[in-house]
Structures are given as structure tokens and as C-alpha cells.
């Protein structure tokens, strides 16, 4: 384990300081609601095909009824051969995948090897289990390594399952219907892309929390093709006006320059020894 993390391994047991703090905060708000974390009511899907893995996601991030981000990036980079789709609490999926990505690059540098998908899955599982479901991250991890093409699901409680096709998020039931109907082993690239696209599309059509564009990420031994967006929403509107103001729009009436008197209190010189 020393190879994969630069941070110290956490102490034994569970750390629930933040959970107790949240509970205390709720009391302070007196009947009002603590601010709700940004959830990516989402449709994400993944399929293993003949030469690799295809991942797909919608791009809508919602904050209750308002669309907070129309072009949110839900397919996160983990390593050059692995990408991860995240559903659930946006901050949790971002940070968890970021942490995983950093740890894996440290591992790569230390060991001289490309990380395997199982390793990423194990690290995720350990971390999410340690936090007993408090980290709301539902992840689809897909990648290609020397042992083959893999697709895994990791739940917020730390349960892991290896699958040939998968959908997650609030739009998963609709997407799963399309996947169950259309999936076959050893699909060709275009078939796999079309299958993932239509399943995410079904999620977008049937779920209010999913929408806007569809991103597709194709991972093969040769490399990664991240198509963003793969399909744009038919309901895009044209901006009639630009919100950028030309310089000179606001007239400058007066200008006053006040020099700040700074005193040097302490000066330290550290010599860099590059011998």
C-alpha cells in the first residue's frame, strides 16, 4: 500500500466528525433546511465491447428544480487507461475520483507500472466502505489494462460488482431497459456507442434530473476517445445577446492613486543546492 498513497493511512476505525457536525448544524437552522448538496440527478451508462469499454453520461447538474450546470462533466479522468462516471452528490464524486486519480499516478511513478482496473476498484471500495455510506458516490469505473476490458460498479456503501453493462443515476431504470434489450457480448465499436447513446437518451427523456447533451468516452488498448458532446440536445436555445461589455462602457470619472507604504520586516534567503 505504501506505493499508492503519499498521505498517511488513516487511523483505525471510522471518522464521523463531519457527520456529527452536520447534525449539529441542522439543529442551528431551527426548522429551516441546511443547504442541500448539489446532486447530479443523472443518467450514466457503460458497456464492455469487443475492443474495450464505452462510457456515456448526460450533462445536466441540478440544484433542486434549477439546472445549475448545462454542460457538467460527469466522466472523470482516472488514469490514461481508465475513466469513471459518477452519480450522486457532485462534490463527492469529483473529490473521490480526483483522489483516486492522484493516488494512481503516484503508484505509477513509484512502481513503474500502469495501474490495473482492479486496483482502482479496490482503492475506491476501501475508501467508501471506511466512510460507511456518508460519501454519496455511485460510480461506474471502466478501463482497459493488460488483463482485459473491465467495467465495475461501486456503490456508496462500498459494494462492488463486475458487470458487462451497467446504468446508474436517477435515470438508470430507463437506460437499463435499453441496455437489457440491446446488449450482446463482443459488440462492435459503432454498435456499442449507439447502444450507450440510446440508453443515456432514454434516461434523459424519462427523467427530469437528466438532460442536455450526451458525452461518450471510448477506451481501448490504443487509447481514449472522449467525445464531448457526442450528441447535443435538440432543445438548445440561441443566445440573442452577449453578456460581455466592451471596455469603455463604464465611464471613469475620477482616478486617485494612493501608494501603500510597506516595511520590510523579515527577509530570509534559502540557498538552493543544485550541485
Amino acid at each position: 500500500m505504501a506505493l499508492s498513497t503519499v498521505l498517511e493511512t488513516p487511523g483505525a476505525g471510522f471518522n464521523f466528525e463531519n457527520a456529527t457536525r452536520n447534525a449539529a448544524l441542522e439543529g442551528l437552522f431551527e426548522g429551516g433546511q441546511t443547504p442541500k448538496p448539489l446532486k447530479t440527478g443523472t443518467t450514466i451508462a457503460g458497456v464492455v465491447f469487443k475492443d474495450g469499454v464505452v462510457l456515456g453520461a448526460d450533462t445536466r447538474a441540478t440544484s433542486s428544480e434549477v439546472v445549475a450546470d448545462k454542460m457538467c462533466e460527469k466522466i472523470h479522468f482516472i488514469s490514461p487507461n481508465m475513466y469513471c462516471c459518477g452519480a450522486g452528490t457532485a462534490a463527492d464524486t469529483e473529490k473521490t475520483t480526483d483522489l483516486l486519480s492522484s493516488n494512481l499516478s503516484i503508484f505509477s511513478l513509484n512502481s513503474g507500472r500502469n495501474p490495473r482496473v482492479v486496483m482502482a476498484v479496490n482503492i475506491l471500495q476501501d475508501m467508501l466502505y471506511r466512510y460507511h455510506g456518508q460519501i454519496g458516490a455511485n460510480l461506474i469505473l471502466g478501463g482497459v489494462d493488460c488483463t482485459g476490458n473491465h467495467l465495475y460498479t461501486v456503490g456508496p456503501y462500498g459494494d462492488v460488482n463486475k458487470v458487462p453493462y451497467l446504468a446508474m443515476g436517477s435515470g438508470d431504470l430507463a437506460a437499463l431497459g435499453i441496455l437489457e434489450d440491446g446488449f450482446k457480448h463482443n459488440l462492435e465499436l459503432e454498435e456499442a456507442k449507439e447502444l450507450v447513446r440510446s440508453s443515456v437518451h432514454a434516461g434523459i427523456m424519462s427523467d427530469l434530473g437528466s438532460g442536455n447533451n450526451i458525452d461518450i468516452c471510448v477506451i481501448t488498448k490504443q487509447g481514449v476517445d472522449y467525445i464531448r458532446p457526442y450528441q447535443e440536445s435538440e432543445y438548445k436555445d440561441e443566445r440573442k445577446m452577449k453578456y460581455k461589455y466592451r471596455s469603455g462602457t463604464t465611464k471613469v470619472l475620477t482616478e486617485k492613486v494612493v501608494p501603500l507604504k510597506l516595511e520590510v520586516v523579515q527577509e530570509t534567503v534559502q540557498k538552493m543546492d543544485i550541485a
Binding site: N122, Y129, G155, P156, Y157, G158, D159
Partner: protein, 217 residues
Amino acid sequence: MEKHYTDSKVKGVSTGTTILAAVFDGGVVIGSDSRASIGGDYISSKTMNKVIQVHDRIFCGIAGSLADAQAVTKAAKSHLSFHSVQMESPPLVVAAASVLKDLCYKNKEELQAGFMTAGWDRKKGPQIYVVALGGMLLNQQVTIGGSGSTYIFGYVDAKYKPNMTREECVQFATNALALAMGRDNVSGGVAHLVVITEKEVEHVVVPGDKLPRFHDE
């Protein structure tokens, strides 16, 4: 045998389940269904293998919270591997069961998972150990667990005989699993069976449509 693996108590994905193990002449069969559900409403996996390998000739059937069971079996696998390197010989089945029992007993407040360990070792041959929710360890010749087990206690009590042949035992296990899956809504899918003997380990999968049918189906 604890049968309180009801989903209402388990948060997240639970293996509302049927697991079973039986000793026959020369080996042991351990089997499970393949359904994992969330809250008894949504089936999150139709093809989950609940018989997990913890060493070359030792397997573990899991029931309860999937996350807890996976975390415990991972820890147990690592413990056992280290133990077997230190002892310079494969671990005894009772050692594997004790490792699981220790983890379950020491963390009984947080964990919601039960196990049955089945395997073969040179000292005592084929054995089965049950590790229940609170950390109880018990050696049995035949055992069933999970929410679906309640429906087959009668069948198992009536039909199990010691020293069956391998074929008879596999058929007995398949029938028992099929009967439980037929009555328990949170058990289903395919039947995963692992047959462990001195010479080899064989993984048999019986798809849903090939399971034995009974009079009212």
C-alpha cells in the same frame, strides 16, 4: 441459524439470499442464488456470485449487507494468505472460519453480514463452519442461511443424508436452492455451486431456466 437478513435493516445493497453448504463423501458443495437487491424493491444485480474464494480450497458464502460482506472477506483473504505464508502450508478450514468469526465478533455493532465457510483441508477433510451475525462459530455437516433458508429447512432436514455421492449432493443442493428461490422474493437468478474436493474445485452455474421445477410451476 440466523435468518434475520431482512433488507429493511440493511442499508445499501443487500444480498437477501439463499446460501447452502453440504458435506458429501470426499468433498463439500457450497451454493447460493445470485440476486442482490436494494430495499427489497430493486434488483441491483441478477448475477452476483455470493460464493467467494478466500483460499485455494476454502470458499465463503455471504449473506446480509453486500458492502460489509465484501469488506470482511477481503480482510479475511489477506489474513489467510499471510497466515498460510507464515505456516508454509495451506490454512485449515477452521482457521479461515475463525478469522471471519473474529472480524464479525469484534465489529458486531457495525457489521450486518453472516457467512458460511466450506472447504477441504488435509487434517479433517471436507468441513463446513457457520459464522452467524454476532460472531458465533459452529461446525455442521449441512447448513443453510439467508432469508430464503426459512423455506427449505424441512426439505434439507428430510433429504440430507451423510456420505452421499458427489452427484447426489449436487442434485440435493440444486433442488434446495431452486425451492428457496421459488418462494423467497429476494432470492433468485441463477444457482452458483462450488464443489470442493482434495483434487480440484469446480464451479457449476445452473441458469434460471435449467433449474429443477416442482409440481406447481
